[in-house]
Amino acid sequence: MHIKSIVHELREIRDRIKDIAGRKLERRHVHRQGRSHIVPETTVPTPSCPEAVQQGPWANLPPELLLHIIKRVEASQISWPSRRDIVACASICRSWREVTKEAVKTAEQCGRLTFPISLKQRGPRDFPIQCFIRRDTANSTFFLYLGLSPDLSEGTSKLLLAARKIRRALSTDFVISFIADDFSQAGTSYVGKLSRSNFIGTKFTVYDSQPPWDAAIQSNHKSHGRQNPKQVPPSVPSGKFSVATISYELNVLRSKGPRRMHCNIRSNPTSAIQEGGTAPTPTEFSRISVEPYLSPLPLPASNGKKQLNEHSSTSCKLLKSTHGAWDPLVLRNKTPRWHEQLQCWCLNFRGRVTMASVKNFQLVAALEPYQNIPTTEHDNVILQFGKIGKDIFTMDYLYPLSAFQAFAISLSSFGTKPACE
């Protein structure tokens, strides 16, 4: 009897030691600031032996109660890295995943980034999401972080996207990825790319890896002629949907003056910034590989009307029928004012940009009177980008842009050639 209890105690001590060791590892794992790749256990394929794993009562917790619990987790884990707890909740099993996705609002609604899809959702309307970009010149790589700046967000910044500049024979691409060291366009980490479409470096096209539609249209598309990825011929360039074009114009009157920028964002309608207007928001990545019906955009004309090509394709009809007359959103850079005393061009970056650079810009909507947009929107800075240090730039974006769009537009600032600076 005596020996049995000693053996039992020893076993308990052994288990406790294992626990403590496990918790220490976990703490180290949680406190790491994401500089190294930590691939969590879910990547290890677990053999599915349903009979072997007896489910506890929690597996049968009614969804409304689970929602109650997960909402509490979401409300307390506001910033990174603790926000990864919510991603973990969505990784447990199907019911938890469903409930977690329901509990978490879109980036536009809550102003927070939670899942990778958040990077393709519109930003909030009332306040910008503040990020910074770190340039690694040696490797032609750019890293987008959520955070005020490397100094101010020490330990709490979150790597959102990475981009690599790839020079080809006839063009230069910035390939954008979710994963810092994987820039393959065929993989699941591929987000999209910015392509410089002319030699002198004044015109760019943004491509998205996913069709820029909302879930309603996607499910429509799925039910009307579902395309099995296996049936798509290999020659079809899937994963390449043109969503925006950016053009730079030299200031011909003053050779040292600020250049002009125009962005034509096909996946956002101008109606998005009307009173009560909305823009489509993806809530999940589409799994279907769809033939890209959308051809590259024509360059922005001076007249904002009828930018969209008159395609007869199903997808364009769906877009138009759901959103009515779709005027793509056109953004232009805010004209700096000349400061006579300082003898330089100035923009009010509200403290977020601290170094002079020709790359710095603020984008506002370029509007026509017929578009009926309230005057408060005319000067609303939708995207702001500028230098704060050697190889460090801030990037703040608002509705109706997404993090991906904002990053791609900002990258074009690095893609222009010296001839137009």
Partner: protein, 155 residues
């Protein structure tokens, strides 16, 4: 001074609990059935067994007493008492959540759900599965999506 009315609650396994009406009506479900006159005597509480009902009554008693106390310092004591109250095994916690939901006792539901939320924080998905004994039932496609999300989140 009004005489304190008592009611009898009957657990699912047939045990009776006599409590002050002011304590019983912490449960909106019981309060509504008393007001509608459909309560019966004793009041049956079908989904809650005696062990859990005893705990629920203990919680409600404490909270009713604290509300009566004039000394506001008791708030901190109440928080500490609540923290001790939920130091129970998982099965009891699970049953308390379900009971609080069925009986519609908001503060108890909030307390128990917050306790579970705190258990969830800081754990990897596999640790959470172990803690709550939940099986991974994702399809290979879903698993791939989950893997990608986690790779990004933990980068």
């Amino acid at each position: 001074m009004a005489t304190s009315r008592k009611v009898t609650l009957l657990s699912s396994d047939g045990e009776s609990f006599e409590v002050e009406q002011s304590v019983a009506v912490e449960s909106i479900t019981i309060k509504d059935s008393i007001e509608e006159g459909s309560a019966g005597n004793p009041i049956p509480v079908p989904k809650v067994n005696s062990k859990i009902l005893a705990k629920v009554i203990e919680y409600c008693k404490k909270h009713v007493e604290s509300a009566k106390a004039e000394d506001r310092v008791d708030d901190e004591d109440l928080v500490a008492w609540d923290a001790d109250f939920v130091k129970v095994d998982q099965a009891t916690l699970f049953d308390l959540i379900r009971a609080a939901n069925f009986l519609n006792i908001k503060s108890l539901l909030d307390l128990t759900c917050q306790t579970v939320a705190d258990m969830i924080k800081g754990k990897t998905p596999e640790e959470k599965r172990k803690t709550f004994t939940i099986r991974n039932d994702f399809t290979p496609e879903e698993e791939e999506e989950v893997r990608r999300e986690n790779q990004w989140a933990f980068e």
